[in-house]
Symmetry: C2
Subunit: 721 residues, 2 copies
């Protein structure tokens, strides 16, 4: 897209030297700026005059360092370290092992479990104290970060009483980072892992990465791409990975690696990777033993098998169970886990791409080893701006399922569009599968509550890169943050998470928080409006998944084409997945399947996902489908313009650097929303033959112009266009 | 190479949180920290109490902003802006146009030329003042940066009298940055150019890049790789480039683009790129017109033609003159320049690779248009740790030659080895070609002084990437800095440049400056010792050019192989380039050619470059060649260990962050120096059959171990291994 240079010159005049860069975004939500409210400042200082914090494990020392650094910066305070409580305002931090005072809170300790904590105001020796207690050092670390969050968000400490423990056990970032430092679907520069300099050079950024994750409860990281290189399992690379693991361990984070299924051939010198071959099985056992020699707390493997050209058990006429259980057997002696992905996209073209994972995995339910968890994307297609929940949720009653969300905005405008994803994550989590009747939400399934699973997990495909601000768009940090918060507890609200994030990341000024929070909360719906309203999906430019491409229909495989997904014709638009069509609806439990079976009962937001609908169909609003669709696209653009207006009022409320960056990015988002709107409306109009109301802003180019847009070198594609 | 994890754990304990990151290296040599010496602090404050600085051009405003920001930070001072000189301690900044006081200094103004400046203490209206004067706004910008350097390096302002103007006109960074943000031979992350977000988003880093360059006089930037994509010349990408040009312009930097010779076919739809074809010639004229529409001060093209698979005029049986002059004609109406590279590496295998450029270009001397400058690498092979000067210097008497240095350490340990390159650059610049008798130095040639050329230039292949500290290794910043300083004036000493850089970048503490400066000054010789002593060259691992690979001899083309370059056999080692061999020496003027013709007169450092020498040859030291070579390799390792010892004494004298980073990198350098030493000594021993003295540290592996080392995913190779 061409953008006028005039606005550049305008921006230039706004920008000043950034060597004096107060706010480059590097500090994320852990800024620890001085508390501005003088009442709070004084109250906080009174509350932590002294500190009782014993223990010398690396994790406890890290927690203590975090606490003292933060208090120094926020309160200009260095609490005296004491061994006994002799005055009011003592902060007591510890586990039953390190603190007799904490040990007395047996109920709170019991409730905390392995990873939880409590934060309480309490009377100790007749003195008014604050307690941060936990069973484990890791719990203390989480407790400290959350205690600091109270200060960062301006909460009162007067009668604080918090008991927290995570609802989900494995809270894991998936880095689609290649060993050459390119990042598949990465829009924030290159990989933060400097493999070439490992293990000799430990970038301080690794520590800050671990701190940021620990602050939101993330306890695992898959550091390499699911489209894997076997090289990551060679000795040299295991030693490199162990150096990362050493950093992560202090912060309660386990390292995981992708296992390329054909590794026994590629680096093992075997002739086969057949999971039932004894030599192959032994190779993986030996490899697991070797890994644990270097990384004693190695988390396990994640595997993408028989999908998009990746090798897998089906290559040898075996199934997913054969593959997963072989790796599980190898890891089992070391308590390692296999995360086996259900995102399968094999060589055969299915009648409906949305049905494939269910069809392949449902029959295998109950056959996986107990240290296998199946990782399922939130929806059945692929990280679209909106998808109905994946039908595997609720359907695998004897297999623990791990949620796979995508934090990086592959289909959501890369790192130029402001899209707060918590509402999207929540939409899936709160969907009711009805697997065991009403209330069988997706959240319950992945929490392991539906069928009392031992394993539970949530994965997020990371949006982190080498950009100084980590995520490219300053607001994309919120998506990393929200993922962690929701993995800890899916019940938290998008609004509360946004509120915390904004306060920690920008300012406590409510005249900023309120409008910007509203802007965040509506941003995802806005993006759906200008990209894929009413259940449309996968109509992006193919390959890079950037910009509109609804006209693409010439790729070799039908299900690679946008036309496959929208099926627009002169009669209407949408994919008939009802019993008259692909019958994908049958993969859902009643009453969900019945709801989706009929146009009338299908939620409007999923309409064209499940139905081929006449252009003239009357929508609940009374408008035709065509008019409704046009209105969504136009509303999307209008909403972006409103975001710009809101943002322009924020000048001076926050630092200029981030204000200007977001302002520029919103201008790009507005241009691209217009591009989406015009391209899609003109394209679908070529089928509907119905008018765009004359009062609406007229597209400034014809359809051919948009069809002929050529984009080169889009990020995250590693050569794919 | 495997490194023990024990040391990692040690380092971890040294590292602390870096969210409070005082010194991440981003500020380069423009840190403007508060002046610590109280006498200087007070004197400086007295000297700049007031400021007379008129003018409103973007460049003058940038200079003023730089000055006021720096004075605020260094001196906690906001000088009052005045219109007339009424008190002592007035700083007067301006051109004859903006300042009547400056206009009076007509001699200084005349001496300044287009880009120079003067800085003087002077008596104005009976008041003691400081003057920064120039003919042009750009001269003022340079003057301001150099005035600030006086403060940054602790110079007295009492009777300052500086007249500076550059000896070389085009002082240009060459970025080998691809449009997908990979960087060929880049070891500091990905490209700093975020093409995808251009022109809409202007990264503040672009401004800091321009400031850093302006501070050392760099006035041009080729922003894309010489292995070029024609896409960079499409309208969309020209608009993106124009956004960069808008940033650069303020700081006196012109943007240049690489011209892919086959662009008329690839993006122009023509059937040929024949430079004598009328349609092709018109296409380039039109393209030039288009470029200047977007970038009115576009610098011009750089071209790598008929080299390493790049298309060029020879593809159409034309020569370099045909190609260069066609482009020169297109640029001429707009005052654009063609930088035509002499690094040719075509499909035919020459009898001696070192002779090829001379053979191709010397016959063309005098035929290039007057807006063509031929860009010649410092040596005839390819950016080796040490090369004799390129024989084209001095030989092209009717053609301006531009020096091409490589700042990025392709053959010098990437960004893990501390190698200060100024002594290497100087070695070439001070070489005497004898083209017009004694004193015909390479520096004189590229300054255009040898034959009074109108054009003159020096290019440096940049070592800049997305790493927060720009260059990966903190000390690699010194090589960017030194390049700029030497391009301004090749006569400056390596030591003076290192001294300034250290003071601005680290501290004024002489107990740091003195030992670390010595360490820097010897670092390049150290690297030559452990990599390629005595004139050895191109014995690195092939492709990535990392680590030792003297045994490689199986690549398709003879001159791709290290064995081609060292020609070791049982009799001896080295490439006979004398009259009994390839006679490359004949490309030099007498007496240089005579010096190089004979073993006895060839400088020892170039010995094996020009001669095949018996292992038992007695060296001036009295040792055999074999023993001398072994000693160099061992000395290299010992020197790195001494660097480590020196550095370990610096703890506490500078910030911990950079201290620890360099400490870790030196440990890697030591390991790799040992790797180089052992591999090379063992390999050459397999020919010499002579012993390594028993008292020397024994290689800890055998030759096979080193030969079998497999390295993957080395940076800067874009897939090349």
């Amino acid at each position: 897209m061409n953008k006028p240079t005039a606005c550049i010159i305008l921006f230039l005049s706004m920008l000043t030297s950034s060597f004096v860069k107060a706010e480059d975004g590097y500090r994320l939500w852990l800024r620890y700026d001085k508390v501005q409210n003088s009442t709070l400042y004084n109250n906080y200082r009174q509350s932590v005059k002294q500190m009782q914090f014993n223990g010398s494990s690396p994790t406890l020392l890290a927690a203590k360092r975090e606490l003292t650094n933060a208090l120094q910066q926020m309160l200009n305070l260095q609490p005296a370290l004491v061994n006994s409580v002799t005055s009011n305002g003592t902060l007591i931090v510890g586990t039953p092992k390190t603190s007799a005072n904490v040990a007395k809170f047996s109920n709170d300790i019991a409730a905390a479990g392995d990873e939880g904590y409590f934060i309480k105001s309490a009377n100790i020796n007749g003195k008014s104290c604050l307690m941060i207690g936990a069973n484990t050092d890791k719990g203390i670390l989480y407790g400290v970060f959350n205690f600091l969050k109270l200060l960062q968000t301006g909460q009162s400490l007067q009668s604080v009483a918090i008991n927290e423990s995570p609802k989900i056990k494995m809270r894991v970032l998936n880095h689609w980072d290649n060993l050459d430092r390119t990042v598949e679907r990465g829009y924030a520069g290159s990989s933060i892992w400097k493999w070439h300099k490992l293990p000799g050079y430990i970038d301080p950024r690794y520590i800050d990465y671990a701190r940021a994750n620990a602050s939101i409860g993330i306890n695992g990281a898959v550091v390499n791409n699911v489209n894997a290189s076997a090289i990551s399992l060679t000795k040299d690379y295991l030693i490199k990975a162990s150096a990362l693991a050493n950093v992560f361990r202090t912060y309660g984070i386990k390292i995981y690696l992708t296992a390329r299924f054909s590794a026994p051939i590629e680096i093992g010198g075997l002739k086969t990777a057949d999971p039932l071959d004894a030599g192959v099985r032994q190779w993986w056992k030996d490899k697991a033993d070797e890994i644990y020699k270097y990384i004693p707390d190695f988390g396990g493997f994640i595997v993408k098998a028989n999908s998009e050209g990746q090798p897998g058990p089906q290559t040898y006429n075996r199934n997913h169970v054969d593959g997963a259980n072989m790796l599980a057997d190898a890891l089992k002696p070391h308590n390692g886990i296999v995360m086996w992905r259900a995102f399968v996209y094999d060589d055969k073209v299915p009648d409906d791409r949305a049905k494939q994972a269910y069809n392949e995995f449902k029959p295998l339910d109950g056959q996986f080893s107990d240290n296998v968890i199946v990782q399922v994307k939130n929806g059945a297609i692929d990280f679209q701006p909106r998808e109905p929940f994946h039908p595997l949720f609720g359907a695998m009653r004897k297999t623990p399922l791990m949620m796979e969300f995508q934090i990086t905005q592959e289909y959501l405008g890369f790192s130029t569009h402001l899209v707060y994803l918590a509402p999207m994550f929540k939409e899936t989590l709160e969907s009711d599968t009805y697997a065991k009747g009403k209330g069988s939400t997706v959240a319950k399934d992945i929490e392991g509550q539906l069928d009392k699973q031992t394993l539970s997990g949530m994965a997020g495909v990371a949006n982190i890169g080498s950009d100084v601000n980590w995520t490219g768009h300053p607001f994309a940090q919120a998506n990393w943050y929200a993922f962690g918060r929701l993995a800890w507890n899916p019940a938290q609200s998008s609004e509360a998470i946004a509120d915390d994030w904004l306060r920690m990341t920008f300012t406590q000024d409510n005249s900023f928080i309120k409008p910007v929070k509203a802007l965040m909360l509506s941003s995802r719906e806005t993006t759906v409006d200008y990209m894929t309203p009413l259940g449309l999906h996968h109509i992006m430019g193919t390959g890079a998944h950037y910009g509109p491409g609804p006209w693409v229909g010439n790729l070799a495989r039908p299900d690679w084409n946008p036309t496959y997904y929208h099926k627009a014709d002169s009669a209407g638009v949408g994919f008939d997945r009802t019993s008259t069509g692909s019958n994908a609806v049958a993969q859902y439990f009643p009453p969900v399947r019945d709801e989706f079976e009929h146009i009338e009962t299908t939620p409007e937001k999923y309409l064209l996902w499940f139905h081929h609908v006449s252009w003239k169909h009357t929508m609940p609003s009374g408008k035709t489908l065509w008019q409704e669709m046009v209105d969504h696209y136009y509303r999307g653009v209008d909403s972006v313009r409103n975001m710009q207006k809101t943002w322009s009022l924020m000048q001076g409320k926050i630092d200029d650097a981030r204000y200007n960056e977001v302002k520029q990015l919103l201008a790009i988002q507005e241009q691209e929303a217009v591009w989406w709107r015009n391209a899609c409306v003109l394209y679908f109009q070529s089928f509907s033959k119905m008018p765009i109301p004359a009062s609406y802003e007229k597209p400034d180019h014809d359809l051919n112009y948009y069809r002929n847009q050529k984009l080169y070198f889009l990020p995250g594609t590693n050569g794919v266009q």
